[in-house]
Amino acid sequence: MNLSLFIPEIALAATAVLVILLDLFVKQRIVIKTVSLIGLLIAGVFSVMMWGDNNPSLFNNMLAADDFAVFFQLFFADVAFLLILASTDYIKKLERFQAEYYALILFSTAGMMLMAAATDLITVFVSLELVNISLYSLVGLLKNKASTESALKYLLLSAIASAVLLYGMALVFGTTGQTNLLLIFRATVDFGYGTLVSQPALLIGIVFMAAGFGFKIAAVPFQLWVPDVYEGAPTTITAFLSVGSKAAGFAVIMRVFLEAFYRGFSNEWGMIFAVLSVISMIIGNVAAIPQTNIKRLLGYSSIAQAGYIMVGLAAAGLFTLTGSTVYTIGIQAKSGILFFLASYALTNLGAFIAIIAITNKTGTDFIEDFAGMGKRSPLLALALTLCLVSLIGIPPAAGFMAKFFIFSQAIQNGLLWLVIIAVINSVISAYYYLRVVKVMWFSEPCTAEKIPSSLAPKIALLICCAGVLLLGIIPGLLMKLAETAGITLGF
């Protein structure tokens, strides 16, 4: 038992409890916010210290503290940090539950970290539920009709997804007799290659698990909750869902599929993800075109982005077996996903922070109300434009490098057809992203009022935009980190 490797998660949980307790005695909101930020900082610092140690297991092989887990610990700590900074103005909408808001974000962040670290089906499920339950409450926190409705919708659909996931896990456990990912892998190796035909229950288990996780990453056909929940939830939580929750889903998919079901199965699930990727990209992008509500638009866009990331998963699964290069290809495909997630997180958070600032003032989420933002608040409009350009994937923004990186690995694995579909989808996406840009810069504003914003969201937005540009121009450093993290995972 080595508790020291568990400090980031403990720090977050402790901070969350402290925040709730403080709320009873302290009236100043700023204290609560500061405490939450400090908790995240502590978690981040301890994560950094663990980088490179590569402890593959703790708690009886239930969790790992390898570089992959640490990468995501840092990732989620950063996301939550930026999110809390960005919530400064927005949180005034929540009359009563401000402390709970911070505490729930901290709890779900801890859950996301655990999801990336889980190496046992049981911990996978427990951490997933920790994230889910915090998010249900967060989605409903606005306490109005739309918010409550979306919380309920999210709860019901998510419960079904969890049930499917659990059923899949049960089947996998039934056929292999193990819950530990590594032991599941060993058991499947004992079955021999080409197992799937002789083990239909295992096959169904894998498919069910893919479906359960598919809900988390909002892949088509498990995306139906996305537009409604994104629209009804508090905008900050929409951002959290689209960035944190999705990344956690991908982390756990990578962990489970690349560790437990790698050899002998990877071509099968690789193809599943390739197909999911194609339909997610197409449906996400096409459905985004007619949207008039910016949150729904970004909801569909996040479905499409999940499709691009799944190109990387397909590449990791469908590698062509050509001798010694297999190993390096596997690493690259993994690092591509990690890099894409980081770049997507910065981009989408940046976009949402700008949108939160704007909609806070205008009071509506309709794209037409963004008219003339270029004149009203040029810097804010510029930041949002940069993020949208990055989402399209035009250089020099990070989104381009991420796509280049992930698609290059797909092509190396012979998935040219998938890449062509993906790049054509990027072009389709340009249409609706640019529509927002067009409204902001070329439509006449209805008033000349500036958009007010306090310092903290501005800092968060600045960090995001700087990150988007930095990753677009000198991506080498993060690519190296992603590679190091990717090596520790799987084989």
Partner: protein, 496 residues
């Protein structure tokens, strides 16, 4: 070379763009600053052009090369250099970039943003011509989209929003394929270095995917930009809507990126595939030449007419490139340069007519030669250069192209194709003469009596462009000697 000349040329306009964007309210400084930040690259480009090594030993050698590791995990380098092919195009871009600032001197609407975007546009086009790393090349290629989108949709006229979006979607569509092509090249060779890839060839291609597929992926990206029939429909819309300086950049250098890319990537990396598909591409070029010219004959909007003529003229470039002979490709390169100057001038003068007369419909114009003699004279010279009158650059370029394509042995039936292409010249004469007659001759219209002629500034840039047309027309060797150095090694790959 000790000093990083090429980086200086590349980054000065980009830095200028940022400086101008940050000027805030001090809008008086915008135009002088833009002038400085485009003049210095022009001076450096001219200096490089003069010191460019023209000896036979320099054939196919990159000069003023800069090479630094950029992204280690991708094996990507910040690699710049110019050879005989890119040097004149670099000079052309710096030259037109400078003139574009002069041409836009009368832009009064949001000048700060306008010049910031214009300079960024220049920087990215320069980047395309001097990048030797595929990733860098592609990034430069894509950056250009954003300034163009803003320039057309804010400062344009007519259906500007529609045209700008159409431009972006077409360009992104083309570059999507190009990206897939570049990625394929990257993984069949493991390198992003253009020189290395052309040198070692794509030996491994058979195992991964057919080289023909990669060839087409790349080709579509360039064909959209050139633009090649049937991917040309964005061009007339973009030109009609764009402000004058942007039309000049678009016709002058932006569409040359397509031709440049075809020679640099498609032909020099895939000589066998180029030869294999040359027949088909030449037929498309011929359709472009004749169809483009025929459609031009029916235009009544002065800018739209010149835009359609570009489609026809870029057909000559495509013909010259895929005739695959050394002379024909040199002709195509010269045609790119000449078309850049001539059409740039045509658009500049047409913009002047539209600005001063405030009418762009040719049916309503007439007799302007009496009222605006200088504009008329320059327009006629540019028009005659466009139809290929001897002593103008247009003649030299077309003559060399046709000579080269007629004599090239790399592709069958070239002599027949060349003769068909020459029909285009006849049609060109038709629409250019009609345009000149319609706008500048015929009965003098009283309502245009008070129209201003070109002022001093406008005379300066018009005369400079006219001078270049004649210099290149009378002594084309000033450029062909340089082009030859870049094209010779590529033509050798074909053996034609």
């Amino acid at each position: 070379m000790d000093f990083n000349w090429l980086s200086t040329i590349l980054f000065l306009p980009a830095v200028g763009s940022i400086v101008i964007a940050l000027l805030g309210k001090r809008e008086k400084a915008v135009k002088p600053l833009a002038l400085v930040f485009t003049a210095i690259p022009l001076i450096i480009a001219a200096y490089l052009f003069i010191t460019f090594d023209r000896s036979a030993a320099a054939s196919g050698v990159m000069q003023f090369e800069e090479n630094y590791l950029w992204i280690a995990p991708l094996n990507a380098y910040y690699h710049l250099g110019v050879d005989g092919l890119s040097m004149p195009l670099l000079l052309l871009t710096a030259f037109l970039g400078f003139l574009a600032v002069l041409i836009s001197w009368k832009v009064h609407e949001r000048p700060r943003e306008f010049f910031a975007w214009l300079l960024l546009l220049e920087a990215s086009i320069i980047g395309v011509f001097i990048s030797l790393d595929l990733l860098l090349f592609f990034i430069m290629w894509e950056i250009e989209v954003i300034p163009m989108y803003f320039l057309i949709s804010v400062w344009g006229s007519g259906r500007k929003g529609y045209s700008a979006t159409k431009y972006v979607i077409y360009t992104l569509f083309g570059s999507a394929f190009m990206l897939a092509g570049i990625l394929s090249v990257y993984f069949t060779t493991g390198s992003l270095n253009m020189l290395e890839i052309s040198r070692q060839g794509l030996g491994m291609v058979q195992t991964a995917m057919p080289a023909a597929a990669i060839f087409w992926l790349l080709f579509i990206g360039f064909a959209v930009k050139l633009p090649m029939f049937p991917l040309h429909t964005w061009l007339p819309d973009a030109h009609t809507a764009a402000p004058t300086a942007v039309s000049v950049m678009l016709a002058g250098v932006l569409i040359k990126m397509g031709g440049y890319g075809m020679i640099r990537l498609c032909v020099s990396m895939f000589p066998d595939q180029a030869q294999q598909f040359a027949q088909l591409l030449i037929i498309l070029a011929l359709i472009g030449i004749v169809y483009g010219a025929a459609v031009t004959l029916m235009q009544t909007d002065i800018k739209r007419l010149i835009a359609y003529s570009s489609i026809s003229h870029m057909g000559y470039v495509l013909l010259g490139i895929f005739a695959l002979g050394q002379i024909s490709m040199t002709g195509a390169a010269l045609q790119m340069f000449s078309h850049g100057i001539v059409t740039g001038l045509l658009f500049a003068v047409a913009g002047l007519v539209i600005h001063n007369v405030e009418v762009r419909d040719l049916r309503k114009l007439g007799g302007l030669a009496k009222q605006v003699p200088v504009i008329a004279a320059v327009f006629i010279i540019a028009g005659l250069a466009s139809l290929g009158l001897p002593t103008t650059s247009g003649f030299a370029a077309e003559f060399i192209t046709f000579l080269g394509s007629y004599t090239s042995t790399a592709v069958a039936h070239l002599n027949v194709y060349t003769i068909i292409a020459i029909i285009g010249v006849v049609l060109t004469a038709g629409y250019i003469l009609w345009l000149i007659q319609q706008a500048f001759y015929g009965p003098v219209r009283a309502e245009y009596n008070n129209v201003k002629d070109a002022d001093k500034l406008e005379k300066v840039y018009m005369f400079v462009l006219v001078a270049v047309i004649f210099v290149v027309g009378i002594y084309p060797a000033v450029l062909t000697d340089v082009f030859k150095l870049g094209i010779e090694p590529i033509a050798k790959l074909i053996g034609g």
